[in-house]
Amino acid sequence: MPTTVEEFEHIIRHQSITELLPFLLALPKRDVVPVRAKLKALRKELESIVQLSENSWGSRSTREQYEALFLTGFAVYSRTDALRSLTNGWALAGNNYQTIKGLHEAWLALISAIRPDWLGDWLRHIHRNGRDWAVGYALLRTLEEEQLIPYVPEIVVKAVVQALSDWGGELSQGVSVPLDAAAAIADRFRADPLLLRRDLPLLFEFDTAVNAYSARIQLVMPFDAEGAQDANGRQLRPWQVWEQKHPIQVVSWQNVIVQLAATNHLDRADLLTRCLLALRRDFRRPLLTWFKDLFLKLEPTTEELLARQNELLELPHAMPLVANFALTQLTQLLQAPAFSPTVLLPLADSFMARPELKTSLRALIMGLLKCLKQEPAQAPTIARLLAAALPHPDGAVQERAAKGLAGLLNAAQPLLDPTETAVVVTAIQQATDLLGGPARTVLVPWLEPAVVVGGPGAAAAYAPTASFVPDISAATAIAPVADWHELLFLTGQVVQHRDPAVAERWLDGLLRLPAQLPADFAAQLKPYLVQRLPALKKASVAESTTLLAGPVNTNGHEGLAQALLLSWATGFATARVARVNLKGDYAAPGPLLSVEKQRYLCAETLLRQGHPLPLLSTPTHEPYWVAPNTLVARLLAYQAAGIPPAPADLAVALARTAHSHAASSAEALTQLPALVDIGLRELLTWFFGPADAQLPTLPSAAPQRPGAKLSVELAGALPELWAVAARTKAPLGRFPTLPAALGYDYPGVAQPLLSTCVAVPHENRHSGIGEPTRVYRYVELAWDSGTTRPAPSPLLLYAPPVGRSQRGSWEENIVMAEDLPFFGSLLPHNPAPVHEHALRNGAWTDKLETAERDIVQQALRSLLPAGPVYLGASLDLLACGLVHNLAECRRLAQEVLLRAIAAGRLLPASLGEILGRQLAAEYAPVPRLSDGLTALTGIDPLTDDALTQVLEALLPELPAAPPRSTRKLLETYALVQPRTARMVPAAVRARLGEWRAVASLKPLVKQVLT
């Protein structure tokens, strides 16, 4: 005779719930635990996802087995097991009723007999975790009637919400569907008083998906339905024919509720109140919209609104969607004689200055002014309400409030007594700093004279700085690594590859402190080494030595420091930097990557040779400046050690040197005579000399001279070093003699680097079956640096990226975002080529993805430290940031703009032209820029002046047919221009004259031009 467990297993494997139910009902208590253990084992065996065939994965259980296992759980599981393991509650969902009717019936029979005390908790648990389904409402009611579970509103409401679509499904299953499905469903509600009175009102109490549910009623299409041809001879698919014969009826919850209210089965007054109360909750936005729409669908009369004015008055401080709705309703009430605007007064501060409310506030203000005409006695109340709107950031709200107040204060017959007038004037004066141009103009008579901006005395004129001198002082001096311990802990940060400054200090420390290393330094490095070589964790000493000497893949910029660390761990017995792969899958191609590798290679060579010399390019002052006198001192140290400087290291050193720092350069010049290399001495003498010094006559190169390689001797690379020094000293200078010295010309050598960027419109057309053709338009930025051939020498640090575009892959762009700060640190005087590289990859069109966004953000951050005026691609980068689709990028760009203005680094006309061209080509929508610029106005007169200059260069670039939302840009100009002493330029006047014909711009044009 089989045991109970064996019998159970037999049923599960070979029979169905028909045999299982009597077995479970008769299961003795003593056998519950063994059956539970068997159940767990069987579930593990049958329900686990396994490979069924070559390309097929799934569970081994049949539907019968699944049902049987599910059912058994309710008979044998403890509370803990049930909450943890019975996760397939969807089997009890209302929409599954027809599909697994047998299971439902068996489950109910089992539950009624066993009555598990955890059933209510289990239902609550699965309802919390299951988002898209609920236990069928009818089943739930049965459970409640049988007293198997208590009444839990939280569960019931979810079932009620879903009941609508369940019933829609049931109606669709018949041989015919009712002609008016909404009425049929409403009848079902009418037939169930408990549902109507107790459960349906729960929809207003809980955060449910009622907004997303509807009933779709349509006769089920038979499998053998056939297609046909329509009148135009077009072949229709079977479902298209079926849809024409049996159109789908969609019944929403709102349809049902409105029908029930119309027949007085639901109390209309109660529904209206419940909607308003639900709108006070912190529900999801779509759900709040649903309550709002339901309220409007019920079409409340003025009397009904008046009866609920207290509820409406609770809403203006809710989220904008609700507040706008409430203000619209209250605006309607303003015209009702029984409504007094006085009730708004206590709440005025809560909503009249809320920045997110614009249109509804404008309408409310207009309503208040109408009300004033009808009821002049309300003047004190209305004046206070209008004054409360003055701090509002929206210009139109401010202007309407200001005009209303001006009308009140200027009324021929005084509407306000002196006390009221004083209160209002005080409120106006308190809001002075927040007033925009139009409101300010209207309220000038009541503003305190001292704070009226726009007088010539208050304005300041912005001009970019003519020259930039880096701060080479004790305050910015970079402290060298103090000792071995500092070097050790710095290693951890270097491995993280985040901060170029840390990497530079570490390199310097490595080169200076070899004598201080303890004997067990390699062992102490192990926590960092295992991050790159996890196999080291369990390795013995001998195995570690083998691992460290063996091959290790190191890629990209990040791999340079890793390679040097691995090399260091072997006492530089194994050279690794040369083997770093710069073109692997995890390396982003960068214009300066090979130069960086050469620097690390120099460091490794020096360390292997045991020379305690620093790299020439190690920064001496923050962020990445090299003091001229220190550079010469380092060169003299190399000379004394008999080691020739590496051209790549020297090229970067030149690019980082603070040549314009007079004191340090003068000291360097006094040290230069000790330098033996004549060519280098001549270069540095010119480099540290006066800013306007002409390039000396350089020896001509041999015809067809190839560009210097990275590994070349110093003498062979001297022409390229001259090119680097020249472009560092004078980014916009012209050096016509340099090509002869180099033996070739290249963009950025003789002439300043002027890559051009053109916005090219594109469009894609798409048409689906039976749909009109859709046109998707977008704009790409096409770069042209004047050449398509790569730079003849990698030592030309300022060489531009080539080709039309160099879009990297997604992986490359992720890596590039991390590498950019390192590349930017190499060219602190003129990082435009790095920025062009970033733009080509990260902003070639609008709305790119996160990897590209990170590139733009990193590049924008490189504009923050002190430096010279932004040139070329750096300005393009700022422009792209200001119109970027991501608000975070725009905010960063705005901060860059403010700091650039404060430091005199901005060329406003150039930036304005770039922005104008981008907007004209519809690269980005106008409000992205206008909203950002408006937020920057009023900070200080200098910023206002610079912004005005930007806009004055921008506006003429826009076409005669203005892009959408140009009004916003013009509003910004109208706001900021009067705060400066600038006259409207002729080019702007001309463009505005053309726009006078555009209705939406006409008033603004008039305002600006007068």
Binding site: E205, D349, R354, L488, G492, K526, P527, Q531, E888, L892
Partner: protein, 448 residues
Amino acid sequence: MADFAYAYAQPSALTHTVKGNVLALAAYAEDPPTGGAACFFSGGLANSWLAARGLTTLAKVVASRFVPQSAALRDPIVTAGAGLLRFEAFSSCNGVYARLDLGPEALEGEFLASGTTNVDFNEPMVNALARVSRTEPVRLQVGEQQVVLERAAGTVTERKVSLPERWIKGLTAVQGYLAGMEERLTLTKVQATQMLQSLPAGTLRGEYYLLLRGPRPSFVPVASAGAVRVGGAHRLRLLDGLLPLCENLRVYATPDGQASAFVLVLGGGHEFVLALSAEANRGFSGEGNQLDTLLDELPTEWITGANNLFRGNETFNPTLFALENDLAPEVVDRLCASLSAMGLLGFDLASNHYFYRRLPFKLERILKLNPRLKNARALLEAADDVQLVGVGNGGRTEVRVRGTDVWHTVLVGGAEAPRCTCQWFTGHQGQRGPCKHILAAQLRFGAA
């Protein structure tokens, strides 16, 4: 994670009675005060509408989460005493701490007992709170007066929840941050309303800094002088319903920018505090800001004595306490930090004082927190897992501590901050408290 059962005599509810509306907050403490006081406060609310707004915002914080994890509602705790009711709660992710303080001006009733308890926050009650109108008087009752009778009738509302240790740990850790904060900005009502406008839309990934630019508050993504670092600034949107109601807003931050707090002065004795962790994905519970202070175990009699004294007095003034007990200020500071880490003290930014608040959980549950300290002590149990290498200049001690398959170099003592070669320290550079290796070294060879 430990299963914890809130066992309330009945659910909290806002009920309409012939005498008016009554907000009855059901209370439950795992470790009830001696004497088993069941009712802490009973009386009227001076401004029931404002108090209801504060409580619904608190409920909103409780229901919120800013990392991808399931939202599990943990009931707020309320502390009654010294004429105040303080409701404290956390977001599900432990990164946002909120407290509603109802002062004497906001309450018109009787404190029947002092102490701290969990209070049941259920959806119907929050629903009802949202419906409280401006003119509607509401009586508040924290705990039940006839609790014994009702329990005898067997109407206990038991709600089992998985109460992660981090939730309790966050409650203790945040007090340490609040105690270290300084007031940085004060915004007017209009500025407070405008503050959120300058937040970029959506979830913010990077760091943001709040500053006043002219009269306007602005959030900028770059640090500057006078700007307050606000990590995960989008979490401030939790306040959008309450900001228009405040009289002013004070902004506090720790000197290292690792936490910030926004205090909304709502008037009439109502104050709402929202504290934010350093980043949206960092809960207060993961911070080790109090580990240093827990290194030296305080004498048990000190803790017991202080606990009894504070419980009797309901308030706590460290200066007076130091004077009365002839203790050095640094000893009292250490005592405060230890007591706050043990869940016995909270911190009030407005008065810049600790207040007595014994968390309504068993003390052993709280003491089990701080896994880093536990792991550090485990390292000390082995004979050679923490080895002295040498003592350098100024008492800088070099130690080797066993890690996972590696030995870490640890420097402790001296004037400089401790350092370690482990990944935790390298990643956070001490901003989230010391690692277990540093703690072990400090425990064995001294922190100073």
